[in-house]
Amino acid sequence: MGWLLALPFLLPIASGLLAFAARRNTGLARGISLLGCGLLLLVTAWIFASVSRQGPLVAQMGNWPAPFGITLVVDRLSAIMLLVTGLVGLAVGVFALADIDRRRERLGFQGFFQLLLAGVCGSFVTGDLFNLYVWFEVMLIASFALLVLGGERQQVDGGIKYVALNLVSTLLMLTAIGLVYGLTGTLNLADLHLAIAAQGESVAVNALAVLLIGAFGIKAALFPLFFWLPASYHVPPVAVTAVFAGLLTKVGVYALIRTFTLVFPADLEFAHNLLLVAALLTMLTGVLGAAAQYEFRRILAFHIISQIGFLVLGLALFTPLALAGAVFYMIHNIVAKTNLLLISGTVRRMAGSFELAQIGGVYRASPLMATLFFIAAFSLAGFPPLSGFWAKLLLVTASLEEASYWVAAVLLVTGALTLFSMSKIWAEAFWKEHPGGGALALAALGRPEQWQRVVPSLLLVLVTVAMGIYPEPLITFARDTADELLNPAGYIDAVLSQSPD
């Protein structure tokens, strides 16, 4: 059992190191990286299947019993996050073959990409607060390398802002971890649940909750801590932005959900209100920021922020239905958002720019790309019968059940404004004539590049459509996940009762 749970981070670390060692032989490095992505998807699917069949899986690293050693735990939330990470990893890995130039590959792109996946998977499997911090660092190092790889002027500019603000988050998190340890003497998440419950509602617990909201809020790009995201996400190659957009901020949200359901007691009034206000403001500022932009990738970057608001809202409402909505929304959003960024990269390749004023005519050049964009974008905006509709339906229903009518109103307004931005992109990039001579047809790109660009988008669109027209299994799974999160006794038993082999 221990090995199965360690594989999601051991595999990418191994393939990353090998690909880095072989980076001058780009063909070999690509092969290793793709093989790593494929195996990762298989392993995560296997873990997902076992967890949904038999409940939380637990492994004790180094055979040290919990709470003394490092525990790996995969419950339903971790399992589905791992699975979607495997999916995004493979899609972006294939797309990167076409998008990343030879120079960046020789500098070690494949190695850092795998290391990033290792950091993300590590954060999802760990059951230890300090170990979570270590995986955050792994992600930070890998993402900084990916941001500045290639060393263009604007990349370094964006990279500095990114790393400076993320270091603040790291510092907050480390401070919080130190205080937690001083207060309770343990960092194992399951053990922490018991230790914090014994503290009762004290000032220290509230202070810790706020510190962690600060730390994870920066990672997740929550209002008002999101400034690093629009400053940096438009500078690296599209494949890098796509994997960042899909996974990095979501790890911050995952950490928030994990700590506020497992570590802190459910009646932490002050912190929940703080989360609720932050979530609503995040939704509005993100979507308004996007409405003011006229660059394809910047619009999408602001929408990442707005959608983080939806996820945190689900946590802040703290009802079973709202948490299920947050889980469903997270899966839907990772798939749709990654795909939109991949499509933006292909559109740029065909039409020559990210600036909406300078491009157009993509519908004429390739109806296929236009259809893929249409599905992904309108799913993001929440159109039935696509996946975003069900995600928003769950959240709106949850807020109406709580009689929070203004929350539901903000949700709907944000949805309408999202639709406005998506229609803007549709009209400018796809519908209107190209201002300078027309866009390249897909066929003009050559066969391998065409495949590498279209297949990942097609795969992700199929997932979106499947989640849209047949949402029942995922909604059931999300509801089970929410129940598991709100009743952590099973998780805690699984961790603390297991004796070493």
Partner: protein, 138 residues
């Protein structure tokens, strides 16, 4: 820097520092020390050598590219942790072999923990020197 005093002293010191780093690596299991700190000490030796004799000489004395050393070290550490699989134990479980051990004497303890620490040692030397060479040569 072209100082005959520094160059003369460096000849002596580098050997001592490297020896000390190995000592730190080996004592690290039960006492303060270990792969990380020993790696930093070893890197300091090469940095001192580079300051006295120049970058080219330091690179030549290392014989392999430091980035390669770092990757090899990380792989070695991962492989050491994976050895536990052969014994059917969870990842990173310590496996011990006491050479010449008997009822009364412990013998010489050899373990995959030491192998892991050695991997960390190489990874730290490699990555610190990669950074140092790049910054110094720019």
């Amino acid at each position: 820097m072209n100082s005959i005093i520094l160059q003369g002293a460096t000849r002596l010191l580098v050997a001592l520092i490297l020896l000390f780093s190995v000592y730190m690596l080996l004592r690290g299991h039960n006492q303060p020390g270990g792969g990380f700190i020993a790696g930093l000490i070893a890197a300091a030796a090469f940095i001192l050598y580079a300051l006295a004799w120049g970058m080219a000489a330091a690179r030549a004395s290392l014989r392999v590219a430091p980035a390669r050393l770092a990757a090899a070290g990380a792989l070695l550490a991962a492989a050491a942790g994976s050895l536990a699989a052969l014994a059917g134990l969870p990842p990173f479980t310590g496996l011990w072999l006491f050479i010449g051990g008997s009822e009364t004497a412990k013998g010489i303890p050899i373990s995959n923990v030491l192998l892991f620490d050695t991997g960390i040692y190489l990874a730290v030397v490699g990555s610190v020197l990669t950074l140092f060479f790049v910054l110094e040569e720019d």
